[in-house]
């Protein structure tokens, strides 16, 4: 998917796919006169986004800022922990069971706790994003850092490289593909975590719009917010795919 070029035919196919979806949706809702509360027409949603652009744009920035901050912190924690575990293997026996235990709980179950601990502001959302991404990055980074086989390690040792030399020149580059995969998966999860947390309590953000609009029976706004969130996270996803290509130029 990531490897190899995307041809114009692939792009065209996606555009056709999207266009078909749009047309069928629009036509069906018009033809059967589907009421807005069941399924609004795509053009109406687009118009709603334009109409509420200031509110939605602010909310989107808010959500993206929370996601970004949590993503960065969580990724650093995950990679940092993985590096520590590889440098000091005995730590694994302490850290991994704890991490596995935390991960066994669906992350949404921590949302109320995060709200009580960190308040309704950005802190609780960032904490949720960190929680959502740190574990997956830790796991991916750890398996990536352990990927180099003994032969490569022996070669480095024969050149006189120490633990840090092997980490820097062999393990980290070798781990890049799986770290990036972890980041990609983690990005999706942390966006979801942030929006879910916003739905339960926040001053602003996409999740808060969804929640309030649902309460006010303003379904057009719900759809507008959800679609904006989709576009926002698609943009983020696109960035990561691009970074992926830049970082992993080999293979």
């Amino acid at each position: 998917m990531v490897a190899g070029g995307v041809t114009w035919r692939d792009r065209l196919a996606v555009v056709i796919g999207l266009a078909t979806l749009f047309i069928v949706w629009q036509a069906a809702t018009m033809l059967f006169a589907v009421p807005d509360y069941i399924l609004p027409r795509p053009l109406d949603i687009a118009w709603a986004i334009v109409e509420r652009r200031e509110q939605i744009w602010r909310a989107l920035l808010f959500t993206l800022a929370e996601t970004g901050a949590g993503f960065a912190i969580g990724a650093l924690i995950g990679i940092g922990l993985a590096v520590c575990l590889v440098l000091i293997p005995p730590c694994e026996a302490v850290v991994m069971p704890l991490a596995v235990a935390i991960n066994a709980v669906p992350s949404v179950a921590f949302v109320p706790l995060a709200l009580i601990w960190f308040g309704l502001g950005m802190g609780s959302k960032i904490a949720m994003a960190v929680l959502a991404i740190a574990f997956i990055v830790l796991l991916n980074a750890l398996s990536g850092l352990k990927k180099p086989e003994q032969g490569h390690i022996d070669l480095m040792r024969s050149f006189g490289a120490g633990r840090f030399g092997i980490l820097w020149r062999l393990r980290l580059p070798a781990a890049m593909p799986s770290i990036v995969t972890g980041l990609r998966v983690g990005l999706g999860r942390s966006t979801i975590a942030v929006i879910v947390a916003e739905m339960l309590g926040a001053y602003d953000g996409i999740g808060q719009i969804v929640y309030q609009s649902t309460a006010q029976v303003d379904y057009l706004s719900v759809w507008a917010a959800v679609l904006t969130a989709m576009l926002g996270s698609l943009a983020l996803y696109g960035c990561l795919v691009a970074i992926d290509r830049k970082l992993i130029w080999w293979r």
């Binding site: 196919a13 066994a104 709980v105 999706g188 996270s233």
Partner: protein, 249 residues
Amino acid sequence: MKRDALLRSPLPMLVVLALAWWLVVPALKIEARYLPPLGAVIADARSVWPDLLAGFWRTLLETVIGFFIGAALGIAAGIGFAQWRWLERGVFPIFVALQSVPVIAFGAIVVIWFGNTLASKVVIALYLAFFPIAVNTLRGLQEADPQRMALMRSFGASSRQMFLKLSLPTALPTIMIGLKIGLSLALAGAIVGEWFGDTVGLGVMLLQALYFEQVPRLWVLILTCGGLGTLLYGGAGLIERRFIWWRAE
């Protein structure tokens, strides 16, 4: 080897964590607002035992039903994608992208469609489980290597035989990964789905505990959700080890 086996079995881990909780909280005088003492959490769990049990079953039911329907649809969609190249080109990238999208926000809309019923949670769980399963099914089916395909063809295998004897077994480990992701998403979906309005379920109880700021109750629920998650993943892992002993290459 022995240490590995010990590390993997959850029991000693649970005991150590419980012990640590029991000892550390009073020792460091951690505020109950952040982490209540283990005793308080256990006492609270006892006081809501019937509700907790009912919530556990309800959420389990929503998750399992949603997961199975989502898995069936997802695998069917994956096979469809593998079968029809044009479908894959046009729709599959949208699917992959949708995986990283906060689909959970659609929860509100689903509740509008289905009302505060079991069905609405099932649909949310199903919807969340569907995408990773469909995506992994297609990826798995595409993994069969051309040389083995050629070998099968040289034996005169029909496309049905190719699928049953080569493509599907090759794909199963990857599909299993998708199923496990789908399972955890289905659980999350069921919990969040309950937030949009219901009276029974772990998600409902989480919401109530938040409104009344009952921190011990929250911990009871977090542990229960963890237990439910472990039960589900454990079951999936068991099935995987029993039936899919070969691994993705």
